[in-house]
Each structure stands twice: as C-alpha cells, then as structure tokens.
C-alpha cells in the first residue's frame, strides 16, 4: 500500500460522525456527494468560481471543491442538508421561496449556505453589500434581482428574530 492509496477518514458531517476510505486527492465535494449521499451541494466549476458547492467548515463558508476530504478531518462540516432540519425552511430558504429567488435551483444550495453565514456576521447589510456578497455565487437564471430581494427580506427577519 502506498501513500497515494485510500486512507481511513473520520468526518463530522452535520453533527454525525462518518467513517469512510478515500484517496488523499479526492475532493471534499465528491466525497460528500458520492460517498455520503449528500447531493444537495452541487458541483459546477470545480475551481472555486461558481460557489455551488459551498459548505460550512467550522461555521465559515468554504468551497468543498477546493478542499480534499482528508483535510476536513477534525472539523465540523455543515452541508445544505442541515438547513431545513425538521422540515422547517431556514430564513434564507423561506425568503428565496417567497421572492422567487430561484429558477433551476442549481446555485441555490451554495447561496443559502453562504448567505446564512454572511448574515450572521453582517446583520444589517445594505443592498450594495448584499450584491457584493452574492458575487461569489453564480446564478445564470434569475438575473439576481429576486435573490437580492430575498436576502434583504431574510436580513430584516433575522433582525426581528423571526423565520417568516
């Protein structure tokens, strides 16, 4: 067995521990989708530009395609699947739904994960700041207007401490 062969990994994903084997070169995005069945994150560009594979690593957004699964050991991984736990949509998900902030939905998981984390750090953003934050997530359907409106609404609801 060489150092290039699959190695045993222990990953903490959405609060549960997973054991699996993966080669060091395997992208975290691929391991989450293919080995863990967490297909909510989407793989678009695989070089960090499109944002569709964004997850949280210890609470901070990270491109799952720019990490190797072996690097994620010892960290808390949160995927889009954690955001509607219990069947309740998250604040950002609910606002995107109401504002028609998605069409095909390919970019949506990355937008939800990124903006939930961003709003926690930026509770009272301007629309310009929202557009800047959204620039890291490519959407080719909506033209962004409805996504921006949804994030404005989600920010207001978060400040008021309510989900809808």
């Amino acid at each position: 067995m060489s150092a290039l062969d699959p190695v045993p990994l222990l990953l903490n994903i959405n609060g549960a521990t997973r054991r699996l084997f993966a080669e060091p070169r395997r992208l975290l995005s691929d391991v989450l989708r293919e080995d863990c069945g967490l297909t909510g994150l989407h793989v678009g560009c695989e070089h960090g530009v499109c944002g569709a594979c964004t997850i949280l690593l210890d609470g901070a957004p990270a491109r799952a395609c720019l990490m190797y699964a072996v690097q994620a050991q010892g960290h808390e991984i949160t995927t889009i699947e954690a955001f509607d736990a219990g069947g309740e949509l998250s604040v950002v998900q609910q606002a995107l739904h109401e504002e028609h902030g998605l069409q095909c939905g390919f970019c949506t998981p990355g937008i939800v994960v990124t903006m939930e984390a961003w709003l926690a750090e930026h509770p009272d953003p301007t629309e310009t700041e929202i557009r800047d934050a959204l620039s890291g997530n490519l959407c080719r359907c909506t033209g962004y207007h409805n996504i921006v409106a949804a994030i404005v609404k989600a920010a207001a609801r978060r400040r008021e401490g309510r989900a809808t």
Partner: protein, 291 residues
C-alpha cells in the same frame, strides 16, 4: 477536473512541517487555504507528489504587535486581515486591500502566506507587502532568514522560497502618524484578479509638501513594482488641485507595462493613470494635515 494522485501530510507543529518539507524534496507543495493551489491541482496545472498541509499549526495563525512592527502569521485568513482591529489600526492599507480579495467564502479560507508564496502578479497582498516594505520570515530545518518584499518576488508565481522553506510570518512596519493610504483596483467582474491595482501611502510634510510617498502597481509586469521614484520631480511640489493627476501621468509615462494576455498595454496604461490619481487623492484625504 480531478487532481493527479498525491500523498498527504498534516504535521501538527512547525518543526514537523519543516521536517516534512526537508524530507520531501522538490515534489511537495505546501497547502494552506488552497484557494489558488487547489484550482491548479484540480486542473492539473500543478502535479505535486505530496501535499504538506499547514492548517494544524496554530502558531501560524497569530497576529501580534512587535514594537514598531505588526507580525502576521502565514495562516491568517484574508477575512481576518480585513476584520481584525490590530490590522485595521496599524496596517490599514492591508486590511482594506484584503477585503477586496475574491469573494466572501474565498476570504474565509485564503491566507496571507499562501497569497504571498503563490505570487500572482495581479494579486492584492504581494502588492501591499511591497508598498508597505514588509519582511518575510522564512524557515527551514537549515535555519531562518528574513527577506524584504522587494527581494522576495522573482517572477510570475515565483519567489525566493527554496523547496524546503516555509514562509512562516510577515512583518510589516506600523503605519506612521499622519500617514494616509489609497488603494484602487480594476477588474472586469467582482472577485476577479485585477487588471491593474495601485497602492499608495503618503503624509503631508511641512509647507504642505508630500512626505514619505510610497507607490506600488500590480498587473503591469511579472511582479508588482514600486514606482514613486518615477515621479520624483513632482513629489517635491506643494499639493495642489492637479498634483495627483500630474504624478499619475508622470508615472504612467515612465513605467514599463509588459504585454500580457489579459488586457492591452494601452488600456492598462490608462488604468494606471486613473487608478493612481484616485489612490493618491484617497491617500491625501486620509493623511493628517501635516505640520
């Protein structure tokens, strides 16, 4: 879009990283935030035999004041540079420039050491390191050395780092009293690398003349360039309405702008004029009134 096979080490200590680097030879790459290296691996533009992950080395993530210097560990993320009070207070140009890198998720992972060691000629942090006279602290099992930013960058994606060396921290002189900074970049999409970027620091001296002017430009050659000497005849003049425009024009005329595949030389020369003038005006606004 999948990387070639590699072996993986994640030493928990700096000594462990340096031993791994010394043992691995030329075929290893250090990975920190991975925001530049992972795309190159995924596209197989780089094919190292081994990745040495430094993320577990906690001491590389520290920011501290050390006399007149701000000491910044190689693992400090761009987002932390932008949002940490010590950086905002003592190296405001660095904090400001770091906030313009890539996107939010990229800034949460990407590191100062990674950006400097990667040495993209259009990146913000090499430009700012040069403008602020930063020093790089390089370590290996053979010892340590300090290299000034002006000597650190050799060419596109190329630095003086030997294959067994690690950039462990960056030391930057604290901003002096009354010093103002300006920073401007132009890119075609938010988060892209700049076509041209400009950094300036200055202070107002006696008789309303410029003092301590530092100017640097990225995106015009294989490494960022310090350029204030190109406008020496202008910088002795008292400030006036046209001062920043004259300095910007003099520098754009004198500076060498190399061909690249990203934008024509003539366009980037116009960018130098416009961005330099704006950066100088911004620095003047921020500078104290002088004595």
């Amino acid at each position: 879009m999948k990387p070639a096979r590699f072996a993986y080490d994640a030493p928990a200590t700096l000594e462990g990283v340096l031993r791994s680097l010394a043992a691995a030879g030329d075929g290893a790459k250090v990975i920190a935030g991975g925001q530049s290296l992972a795309p190159m691996l995924n596209m197989r533009l780089a094919r190292p035999d081994r990745l040495i992950d430094i993320n577990a080395v906690g001491e590389l993530g520290e920011i501290a004041l050390d006399g007149n210097w701000l000491s910044i560990g190689a693992l400090v993320r761009h987002d932390a540079l932008a949002r940490t009070a010590l950086v905002q207070q003592h190296c405001p140009l660095l904090a400001h420039a770091a906030a313009t890198i890539g996107h939010y998720a990229i800034r949460k992972r990407g590191t100062i050491g990674g950006s400097l060691a990667h040495a993209d000629p259009a990146a913000q942090l090499p430009l700012v390191a040069l403008a602020l006279d930063a020093e790089m602290d390089l370590r290996s099992t053979r010892g340590s050395r300090i290299v000034a930013a002006r000597d650190f960058f050799l060419s596109v994606f190329s630095t003086v780092l030997d294959s067994d060396e690690l950039l462990v921290r960056v030391r930057i002189p604290r901003s002096s009293a009354g010093e103002g900074f300006g920073f401007r970049l132009f890119n075609q999409r938010a988060g892209d690398f700049a076509l041209v970027a400009v950094a300036a620091t200055l202070a107002r001296g006696p008789d309303n003349r410029v003092a301590r002017l530092r100017l640097a430009i990225g995106g015009i050659g294989p490494v960022p360039a310090r350029v204030e000497h190109l406008a020496a005849s202008e910088t002795g003049e008292p400030f006036s309405e046209q001062w920043s425009a004259r300095v910007a024009a003099a520098i754009a005329d004198a500076v060498k702008i190399e061909e690249n595949e990203r934008a024509p030389v003539a366009f980037r020369k116009e960018l130098v004029v416009a961005l330099m003038r704006e950066a100088l005006d911004e620095a003047l606004d921020r500078a104290g009134r002088g004595s």
